[in-house]
Point group: C2
Chain length 229, copies 2
């Protein structure tokens, strides 16, 4: 072995996933009720140990899939947590990831198997270890991202109304937005396609439907355009 590689310095490396979903009203986080020690019976993020044949991204994908049944969802690496006693069993560093999934699309059976449940951000219970800190950090990162990139479109149906989009941003940013102001700012980003179609469920006049314009967005991305709401 080369200098510096002391076997006793090795650590366990866990991956924990903050899974966000949106149900038309609220931004929610998916949590599991642990039926194993340590901290059996407490709420927790879904997580697992990094295996020798996978990268951190691989592990995050495996863990998300095991709980929700969904695969190949983009997850962003958030932060590596390393407090000395964060895990009472053994020195464990945890790299957290966050994912945004369509709340309709998870596999209900899997979720029940893990006693998992969606929690509104305002109702997140006391979690094991430093998991509350992870969730808070993920929310802050998501809010920041939302201001820089039009993240969040994956949370909406393919065609959506301005009202739905505003609701989503209000849920992520946790504040009410002025309707006219919101529409102006969104339009100034010029990344939506207005369809010749209306959603007639909300009013007799109906509301125009929109689509996210991936191509325009990809072109603009380099400019780091901002959406200050």
């Amino acid at each position: 072995m080369y200098t510096g590689y002391n076997l006793e310095d090795r650590v366990f490396l866990a991956v924990d996933c903050i899974i966000f979903g949106f149900d038309d009203e609220d931004l929610k986080v998916l949590l599991i009720k642990r039926d194993f020690e340590p901290e059996k019976g407490k709420w927790s993020l879904m997580g697992g140990f990094l295996k020798s044949n996978e990268t951190l991204d691989d592990a995050a994908d495996r863990i998300l899939h095991r709980l929700t049944g969904v695969h190949d969802i983009y997850q962003e690496q958030l932060y590596s947590f390393s407090d000395l006693d964060r895990d009472p069993v053994a020195r464990t560093i945890s790299t957290s990831y966050y994912a945004i999934i369509n709340i309709e699309k998870h596999n209900e059976e899997l979720i029940q198997q893990y006693n998992a449940q969606w929690f509104s951000l305002a109702d997140i219970p006391d979690l094991i270890f430093d998991h509350n800190e992870m969730v808070q950090k993920a929310i802050r990162r998501l809010r920041r991202r939302t201001s820089i990139n039009p993240i969040g479109f994956e949370l909406l149906p393919e065609k959506f109304t301005m009202r739905q989009l505003q609701k989503l941003y209000e849920a992520i940013l946790d504040k009410e937005l002025d309707k006219r102001n919101f529409i102006n700012k969104i339009n100034s980003m010029d990344i939506l396609i207005k369809l010749n179609e209306k959603d007639m469920t909300s009013s007799t006049k109906g509301s125009f439907l929109y689509q996210f314009d991936q191509e325009k967005y990809d072109k603009k991305k380099g400019d780091n355009f901002y959406l200050k709401l």
Copy 2:
């Protein structure tokens, strides 16, 4: 041991530091020439293994101090790199940090001891492992941060001219900025104190000196204000 904690899954955890400095013209990165294996003789970031009695932040601080002599400099955790074969000796995950230090203030003796050298971003050599990727990621993060927060003031003397500030932003963003536009945008952020003092070295008329107003900045921080340059 509880389920899941398999000793053979443990990994080495390294910390690598991307150390930025600014010399009035260029943004630079501090690199060391390795005099140990593996990859002896190649350029590299300064790094080390996480020890059992320290957090990742502690390790980053120790590593920065060992090379530069400076302590308690704010470092931001960047990303954890985990490609399977990134380190040919043993499975090692590396958590990278970046720091911004005053290029004048490092300890010259220490730097020579590590055969370290400042490189302009345009001249970064071929580095060991995935260190080039780390540097590129740090530059992107720094550029993004610069647009959100007035990062970078730590790179300037306490009192500075608008010209110096513009030079710094041009170095970080790697593009020329229009002078009038820059001044307007900086002023609109309202986080500088204009001093009743001039720097007389640059012209006979002299240039007003400014200071960063930490108090105003702290108050505004919550608003996530942007500086789009």
